[in-house]
């Protein structure tokens, strides 16, 4: 397994931004039947040049997670990755997990034997972060994160004493406590009920405003993509290809009124259409504009 690019730890993490570029990324998995390969990503070219929130939208099973795992360097996916193509972060080719990127999942994987505080401070048990963040600084950051995610005073509780939404807050805090320059989120709110999900969406916006970084957020929910994204990237079904890629300039938080407005409804319909076409196999690089 390759080692990611190690950036200078003396840099203030949020101070300068790392641009991420994917060049002709192809990913194949061996077929379960044993013979041949299954192409999941078919020559993806994408670049991220600003610390914005980017929504990766696509039908289930199209390769969103596979793609996301390459955006913070290359994270192990069980086979050689990528099959071909290049991941370039901060101008340097990257063939292993990049130190400045962290990932948040739908399954928050909080350790039940640790308190909330200890869970947020968990990465500091790892040699990578131990050397980078001095102990006094760690405590300060954990305190700040507890407050930022609205779990002040709950630091001493255990994950089983919190709700699913609160546990997802812990997972988010555990990632952001590292001040990553690249935050990768794989359907993080997918398992939450509608109201909790909305709360988490607002929380994410607030956290991002306070600590700007490149966010790539995978979702299969068009509304979520429109509510959160500076940019929405739509993928076709596998082999996945970028079928749509457009910016949204409306400031956040975005209101229900905005979401219901005619151009946005039209945009949503076009994206749904694109997704539907992508599913049924018709492809084409059609840009949705509004």
């Amino acid at each position: 397994m390759g080692v990611g690019v190690v950036t200078d730890p003396s840099n203030e993490p949020t101070a300068d931004f790392l641009d991420v570029e994917l060049k002709d990324i192809v990913q194949e998995y061996p077929k379960p039947e044993g013979d041949g390969v299954h192409r999941v990503l078919d020559g993806i070219n994408l670049s991220f040049g600003e610390p914005t929130i980017n929504m990766l939208l696509g039908p289930s099973g199209c390769g969103k997670s596979t793609l996301l795992r390459m955006l913070g360097g290359v994270r192990p996916i069980g086979v050689k990755a990528p099959t071909s193509g290049e991941v370039i972060i901060g101008g340097q080719p990257c063939d292993g997990p990049h130190d400045e990127s962290v990932m948040v999942f739908q399954r928050y994987a909080n350790r039940p034997d640790l308190t909330i505080r200890e869970n947020i401070a968990f990465p500091f048990r790892l040699s990578l972060w131990k050397g980078r963040v001095p102990p006094a600084e760690r405590e300060k950051r954990v305190d700040a994160m507890l407050k930022a995610v609205g779990l002040e005073g709950k630091g001493g509780l255990r994950p089983s004493q919190l709700s699913g939404g609160q546990n997802q807050r812990v997972a988010l805090a555990r990632a952001l406590v590292l001040r990553p320059r690249i935050l990768l989120m794989d359907e993080p709110f997918g398992a939450l009920d509608a109201q909790t999900r909305e709360e988490m969406q607002h929380l994410l916006i607030d956290l991002w405003k306070a600590q700007r970084c490149l966010v790539v957020f995978v979702t299969h929910d068009v509304t979520e993509a429109l509510l959160l994204g500076d940019r929405v990237i739509v993928l076709s079904t596998s082999p996945a290809d970028v079928v749509d890629d457009f910016p949204i300039e409306e400031p956040r938080p975005r209101s229900d009124a905005w979401l219901m407005s005619t151009p946005v409804v039209a945009m949503k319909e076009r994206v749904l259409d694109r997704l539907h076409q992508a599913k049924t196999g018709q492809k084409g690089q059609v840009r949705v504009s509004f």
Binding site: R75, P76, P97, D99, V102, M103, F105, R107, Y108, A109, R111, P112, D113, F122, P123, R125, L126, S127, L128, W129, R158, S160, R174, A175, L178
Partner: protein, 263 residues
């Protein structure tokens, strides 16, 4: 009747327990007090109690043979337990942490689980003589062949998501095992330790069969030679009691250390 999820009240459970134990005691009493069987085959409750008082205090030497026997048996189990845990747990953890290590060790260890451990005793006697080393080794082997696969399985039972989540936060592979998989496997590893130590109590009499000067197994061997069946019963009862005590204590400690397990 046939509802496996039915919850009995504590009172009800106790009642059924009393009925079953009482029935056995009743049959036992009828057989022995009614002189249907000879005391050398099955002693009565009274005779077992006499055996207990006989073993509990020896007037001539002013010692308690039973207490001394318990002491040396407990000591042997204790020493063997420390060895079993300190050697068996790491091996099981490494096997569970690395399919390669598992592939190397499991062809050697897995067949031992079904090997007749008692048949190993003569081999150990030939190798190590008839002293303490042989007895401890026998207990060790008997328990460790259970412990290692159970510890390995405890590691494998931890959901992969914990390992992945740690890796994605920058953990090395070993750190992900050390800080994510192992802590999650600990409650089941503790269960494995409890089982392994309990197994030792079933092997103690065999371990002490050969040339023991002390121990509960020695009492049994000695009493049987003298046809003192009541003393055999006392020793068996004490072993069951000690095994139960060990189990209950260890489980209580486990639940105290890992209260989050059932969540």
């Amino acid at each position: 009747m046939w509802n496996p999820y039915d919850e009995l009240s504590a009172k009800e459970r106790r009642l059924y327990g009393l009925v079953s134990v009482g029935t056995v005691l009743l049959i036992w009493s009828v057989l022995t007090f009614g002189s249907f069987v000879r005391p050398t085959k099955l002693p009565s409750i009274v005779q077992v109690f006499e055996g207990f008082t006989y073993l509990a205090w020896n007037e001539a030497t002013e010692t308690s043979p039973l207490f001394l026997a318990v002491k040396s048996s407990v000591l042997r189990v204790l020493v063997a337990s420390v060895l079993v845990v300190s050697i068996g747990v790491p091996i099981g953890v490494f096997m569970g942490a690395s399919p390669k290590i598992n592939a190397v060790l499991s062809p050697l260890l897995d067949p031992l689980r079904s090997a007749p451990v008692v048949a190993i005793l003569p081999i150990l006697v030939m190798w190590m003589g008839i002293g303490e080393l042989m007895k401890i080794t026998f207990l060790f082997i008997g328990a460790v062949v259970f412990l290692i696969p159970m510890v390995r399985d405890a590691m494998l039972a931890v959901s992969q998501q914990y390992w992945i989540a740690a890796r994605d936060l920058g953990a090395t592979e070993w750190e992900a095992v050390r800080h994510a998989v192992l802590p999650m496997a600990m409650p089941r590893i503790a269960d494995a330790i409890v089982v392994a130590v309990s197994v030792m109590w079933t092997y103690i009499t065999v371990a002490e069969y050969v040339n023991a000067e002390t121990g509960l197994g020695q009492i049994i061997t000695h009493a049987r030679r003298q046809s003192a069946m009541n003393q055999v019963f006392v020793a068996i009862g004490v072993i069951i009691g000690l095994a139960l005590l060990t189990y209950v204590t260890m489980m209580a400690i486990k639940r105290k250390i890992y209260p989050w397990e059932s969540e």
